[in-house]
Symmetry: D2
Subunit: 333 residues, 4 copies
């Protein structure tokens, strides 16, 4: 067993298993404890373990992502943040500006998206920008503003963390720590948010396969944080009309392979304002657990991503359409 092995067993035998030198993770399912032992090719005497009286069954997990897999945890993972439970029948609606630009902007947008039905406010304080000369975000001041704007309207907060040294700071203000697409395989960062006590929204990398994305989630979970929300945000293809190619196929694929909730970002996924609503509707119809959408009351003057931001009134109309689609597939907003 050369590179990381996974097994699950019922009955609480974690301490004894750890004596073999493996890490042991536990979940509960249908009233039974389930354990997953992982390690780098450590020789566990499985034939012996199988005989322990507490052990009901031992079976290898065939996929490389162990803790993330449905084989380990068959039921959907539910993650409660503020008023919403991500992964439940109720869709999670996250909305807000690309970047927090100031008080008035943040409060105006927070009010609008809350009124339309969002339960989480999105907004960047630390911005990964292709150019070193572009607006880099307001930093902690931006987080402070967003927290107050969100609180004023009963919203939770999701915001991006760009490196290990920012994790503690962002976690003081935000309810969900976002790992951006460009950092999906920044393993030092994944380890750090794996130690945080807050849910992590993990965006899919621009050219990441679904398996690599789930492996990045495994990095987080193996460090102790099981509250991972996956977010499809578009992949890179040869197409130039749209900014990215939103890959909705990933939704049913992830739903089959993993118990983690998966949401969709049609704003970055398409990069074009009038393509956001149709792709948001499609994402819900394909089974997404929620949406994260850029909304700005004055997109022409936004400091970043104006061209893909919805006006508040467009977001409001979209939520109405989403409500009907959700009903058609047995879910709700």
């Amino acid at each position: 067993m050369p590179h990381g092995v996974g097994f699950f067993a019922t009955g609480d035998i974690a301490t004894r298993l750890r004596m073999f030198g493996v890490a042991v993770h536990r979940t509960d399912y249908d009233g039974h404890a389930r354990l997953c032992a992982v390690g780098d090719g450590v020789p566990v005497a499985w034939d012996e373990v199988r005989q322990w009286p507490e052990v009901e069954a031992v079976q290898p997990i065939a996929v490389p992502f162990k803790l993330v897999s449905r084989a380990f945890h068959p039921h959907p993972t539910l993650i409660s943040v503020g008023r919403c439970t991500i992964g439940s029948d109720q869709l999670a609606l996250m909305a807000g500006p690309c970047s927090i630009e100031g008080e008035e902007q943040a409060f105006t947008i927070a009010a609008a998206v809350a009124r339309s039905g969002a339960s989480v406010m999105r907004g960047g304080a630390y911005k990964p920008r292709t150019s070193p000369y572009s607006f880099q975000g307001l930093g902690e001041e931006g987080l402070r503003i967003m927290r107050r704007a969100a609180d004023a309207h009963g919203l939770a907060v999701v915001s991006e963390v760009m490196d290990t040294q920012q994790v503690a700071l962002v976690a003081r203000y935000a309810d969900i720590l976002q790992v951006g697409a460009r950092n999906m395989q920044n393993y030092s960062l994944l380890k750090e948010v794996g130690h945080a006590q807050k849910p992590v929204l993990l965006k899919r990398g621009l050219a990441a396969t679904i398996e690599e994305w789930l492996m990045s989630a495994e990095h987080i979970m193996s460090n102790g944080n099981s509250q991972v929300i996956l977010c499809e945000r578009g992949i890179r293809t040869f197409e130039t009309y749209t900014r990215n190619t939103l890959d909705l196929n990933a939704i049913p694929v992830v739903k089959e392979l993993s118990h983690l909730p998966v949401i969709v970002d049609p704003s970055h996924g398409t990069g074009i304002r009038n393509k956001v609503a149709p792709m948001a509707r499609a994402a819900v119809a394909a089974g997404a657990d929620g949406l994260i959408i850029e909304v700005h009351h004055d997109p022409d003057h936004a400091l970043s991503d104006g061209a893909q931001s919805l006006y508040p009134v467009q977001f409001d109309e979209l939520v109405d359409q989403i409500r009907m689609i959700a009903t058609a597939i047995g879910r709700r907003v």
Copy 2:
């Protein structure tokens, strides 16, 4: 004007325009005739044309696809085939086996899909196969069988034509001529179906940009056939979990650029049976004008594409879900 230029004008002045050496196409919109003059950089005296009394306006068409563009024909094109009008509020449902394999198979499947609400039967008689040693289709015998099976259940027929020499033959049996993804830029074939009197279903190539796809439609339209149905069927990316990556972004993009109807093939788009229904629902939510889906009553023994074919009962359930999604966006099955 180096490579093909397009203009439109109101007022019927086609004959006089042609004297400049350009080809002239006509459409009608809001009670006005609209003309599109195309040619390879021919010098038309537009300043003079602008003065003709019949001319209301002259304006260049900025996109390279002229006849296909909304600039030329702002309203959606409607294509009537059998009981359905493709491009209308009513979704076009096309279903059937990958390949026609025999009488019993064709009649069984035709009965099932008709009962569920399909109006067009799909099925291949000439099959493009990666391997020369794979089943290549029943040829004309397959067309004959499919025609009878479809007629018995009030269905229209769509079937693939692989080369110029097959066009007349396939057109004798089928109501819609399908040009496959691998032939999207087979210009000789596009020209030939451009001369046919039957609607053409043009699949998007595996690595075709949306612009190239519309340019291929322009090849067909410029040869005189304006009944073109676009079909998104998945593009090639780095992802290996799914057979292809169904690109639903293409739907709102095509809808903005072109008046032609666009349908979606989630069977080839995903290549995995249990991914077909979620992606079919998503396609409708994104605004597709219809679906083309592989259905087989005994997929384990299908001579091609069994792994992605729905069972008839699955197709039936899918149509019910589609009906609800359609209602949510103001359309119907």
Copy 3:
């Protein structure tokens, strides 16, 4: 054996094998006859065949491309055209304009490239163009001109054939029939050139995997024509700086998998004049059997692809560089 099986046997037992209903192809290697039996899952009694006295060995060919594989024919295939033997130590240099535009152009360029060391003249008479309004080639008149220009300078001729109905015509003028990238999976065309008596230059499709490319060569070979020259001409990626991404990795991969010669087209592969020479040098260093390069004496007025055509003097300098690289790896121009 579901889809096409391949075996090889030594000893001439072709007729008896065919009685099992399989097609049998023969090659010779090290003084032994080698046979390859292919068919669509036909049940051959291999255990019985193994006992025939003429049979030295029977072994399955594990790859899907049977005739194309080194398992069937271990030695490199040599294809003689005019003064050059493609696949030998001597590199095949093919050069000429994108399109034949007229007498003066063709003769001027033929003279130049012959002087620099090319042995084959390239030039299109039938052009696959994305736009129906672009220059489509001079047709048979173009072929006639090119034949005379080539003959006047001792060059062989390679020219593209776009559909089945053109094969006989193009074969009257050209020494090598080119199948373009967009037709790589036009199986009707592959079958037709498979029946021709001329070598076929098979370009790799824009998004074709190497296996699919070799499968298309198998289509040609299984129809009887074993003179297939593979041509890498760039694949489509997300990069927009170059027209395509020339994939030189394909050279050593093809050389390992197949006995067929492989040449490289750096003109279409990059689409930028000053990138042609470095990539041509790299192709030779990577082991390519030859190059096909666009050369035009007046590229600013070329009717197609001017921006990627070398001036004759640039081609001349390139051949000098190629000569030195070739020597470094034990080959020659």
Copy 4:
């Protein structure tokens, strides 16, 4: 001037320019000082600046990467590390194991690659791994071992740094700090190595365009470190035969756009041992300034990437071939 503007001026007027609120970078070329002023849309009174007596010329830099561009610094940048000057006529050969695994391994390989002509030893101490259960590297102990092995054979050291907190530590042992492909857009890390006093080897991201890659180099340079070595290591495409698709087109493209040296990693670029040598030769023929190659004396037991590592004897043969190719294009090993 919305997002970062660049100008260059001759004459030393840096201090006065900075009073406008822009950052000013200086280079020297042909005995003249050249300045580049960058900032986020700051309004500099260029018409006034143009009148200053020290100013010879003011001109905008049209590309988004300013300091990286040839417009700012027309001559190739030379970076001296140990015995080699990267970017000079002499090719830089970097070789060594994927991961440092222990003393014996490191010293054995260092001896071998030094003997063959390498001047820099590569080796990972901190390994970014897709799976959290794979070998993660020896950490500081690995760096210590590599430094001693390299010193014993007169080699410089290049090793990867995975996050901001490792930069100071790795810089104590390594001569070149490597930023891996997965961290190409980890802007916090780019900023940190931009403050380091050591050269940075910046690998191209798996799906990064050439422009994005150069923009990441701009992040480093704009933070003060102008010693950036670009490294092409393969991009992700649909091809599955090779691990990645080594994109040699990037070499001539980068050489035209930028003054920075560019080297090639054919080991990760192909992922297959017997494809490394042909692609290494091709890289040199295309104009690369050097190579970085994985070499292992016992690849079957390597803890990572064994399948793509050359045996020392293969590396030795490769250097001989490289030497001949280099001569053919006027360079040397």
